[in-house]
Amino acid sequence: MTSVFLLAVALLAQDTTQGKAVYQKWCAGCHGDTGAGDGEAAHYMLPRPRDFTGAIYQIRSTASGELPTDADLMRAIDDGLPGTAMPGWKDRLSAGDRRNLVAYLKTFSTFFADTSFRPQPIAFGSAPGGGGGDEALRTGRLFYDSIGCRKCHGDRGRGDGPSSPTLKDDAGLPVFAADLSEGWRFNGGASAEDIYHRLRTGLDGTPMPSFSDLLDQQFLTDEQLWRVAQYVRSLSPDAPEVRDVIRAPRIAGALPRAPDDSAWNDVDRYWFPLVGQIIVKNRWFNPAVSGVWVQVAHNGDSLALRVVWNDRSQSPDTAWLAHGGRVLSSLALDEGSAPAPQPWPDQLAVQFPLTIPSGMERPYFLMGDRTAPVYQWRWSSASPAAAVAGQARGLDRFDPAAAGGAGAQSVYDAGQWRVVFTRALATPDSASQLQFQTGRAIPVAFFAWDGSNAETGTRMAVSTWYFLALDEPVPARVFISPVLAMTLVLVVGLLMVRRAQRASGRQP
């Protein structure tokens, strides 16, 4: 018995020694040498890297406050935590390395060595049938409201509930309620099963509680809790594929200039992820806007470009001012000391080159430079029914066009901005504004600022270059030829019928 124990200790020691080497090479930069979540890169991150010394883990199969199982830890290492800086390591580290790493992580806390805290996975059961049906989703929505999900996650699940501006993690650092319409960013996975598991376990260290007690107290049934999970799942599309080229159909007649014009329902939408601007000082590692949905249509004279993005606050919003201050003070900033938060507006910029390039050459994506400007449309919630067109020559220089720029209309609704920019394809001042042409690949990029998240100036979210292609006008012969052909067929047919009738009329 003793020898078995000693063998186990020896094996564990070996695991942890090898695990330590892996940890120091790959993990310590963020999580710190002592596992306290305070590596060199940690202060650029919100949420912070996990502090292993407390043995408090978000993604578990165990009840609130319990330790994670080895499989839970392995899952976080394998898959990473989507929506955070933690990548998956399944393809980068061998299975043995990852197993040793799990053993080593557990040495950072004495809780794992204490057998009285042995983790017990919850017996989750499986989803009841009818998950995607209307009735199931109605039930899910009912309990989404009654168990208070909307308090943080908001009416439409966009993380904009009344409590969202004050949320903080165990360390007192600001944390966002998950935007439930972006399931691909859920820390613990996007399936209805994953969501149900998070409802049961909570996400320890964050404001997200466990709802298991509600089953014990018969506030709702297990099936009803599954319905909540299925409803939440229904709020998000599958992870959108990022396509490089926006195809803008040509439509007849007036363009949909209003953000909620039903004509937009028939126009393909494209998802473009945004990331923090971390190239030019002052850099920004904590962007609030994760991406934009873009649709474009034109009618031969003008084009309309609709950008839809989720933003938890209609900035400036005094309820969020303190949040901005907490974000600034919890991050390492190029500015040195944290600037005081101000009621900054939300902003969006759409960027094109000044002229359509013939090859692959494009201006610098980060708002051009002194010699090669870019052409931009800028919109701000401070002036939500207007856009300013102009040229940027780097992040610090923007020259508005004299006249005839883009127009804009916007709507803020339950944690989402919807803005439609419009402009004539051609403008009189062709030297200072882009002249749009059909059938060409027009580079386009996007920038977003959430004022309530202390984003202004260079503290913003950026995309890389993509392309916009306006459908060519359809040549007239395409329409005329079929009409001619049909007419011909009709005439020939009539003649044949007439002749046949005459022939039959002469029959005795």
Partner: protein, 266 residues
Amino acid sequence: MTRTLFTPIAAVLLLSVSGCGGDNQGGQASPPAPPPAAGETPAAGADAQASGGGTITGTITFTGARPANAPIDMSEEAVCKEKYTAGAPPRAETVVGNPGVLANVFVYVKSGLPAGARYTAPTTPVVLDQDGCRYHPHVFGVMVGQMVEIRNSDPVLHNIKAIATKNRPFNISQPAAGMKTNRTFTAPEVMVALECNVHGWMNAFAGVRPDPFFAVSGADGSYGITGLPPGTYTIEAWHERYGTQTASVTVTGTESKTADLTFAAR
């Protein structure tokens, strides 16, 4: 004589009662209720402190400028706001009474108890009530293994999150009035922070002790720790904003000793 029958367990009960007695005036604990009569006191935990013992009492004073306790803006939760007909209650973090006394200070015996002494947790739970979107009591003591009964008296969602290092944390939800959840702590910890993330102003603190020798200062700044065996003790006073103060007190028999502690504004 009443005093000698006033076991430490009664003191624990008393504290929890005084902390959650329908106080709608800024988290100030009500004046201590009279000690329960002999016989009503549960005998649990009586093994190491069955009878008598010394008493340490004192007043927590506060010097310097009084901080302004801003009223809580409860407009996001109308049901709670309506419970305060006399206007919004102030935050509970610094409750200073007259003249210059500090409430919600957790006072406990930090060291000096006989090595190896074991104290049984009472079977009576400490009640932590969520009423009017505030915790009652705001600061309380509880023994290792003693039940904390968390109640929701508000018809709204509260989550109850415990932030701890020596204990396992928890974060549970109570979306309806009348819900109750029991929790215990496994290790001494001064203090475990409790908070509601739905209502960012709601917080409370639990002092988890392996013995029953602790108290929380009331609105008059007074506290009392009873049933102490003879010994020389370091008592520590903890306040959420002003840190800690300590004093050394020697108890020789069943006498009452005084240990006043002072916190300064900063």
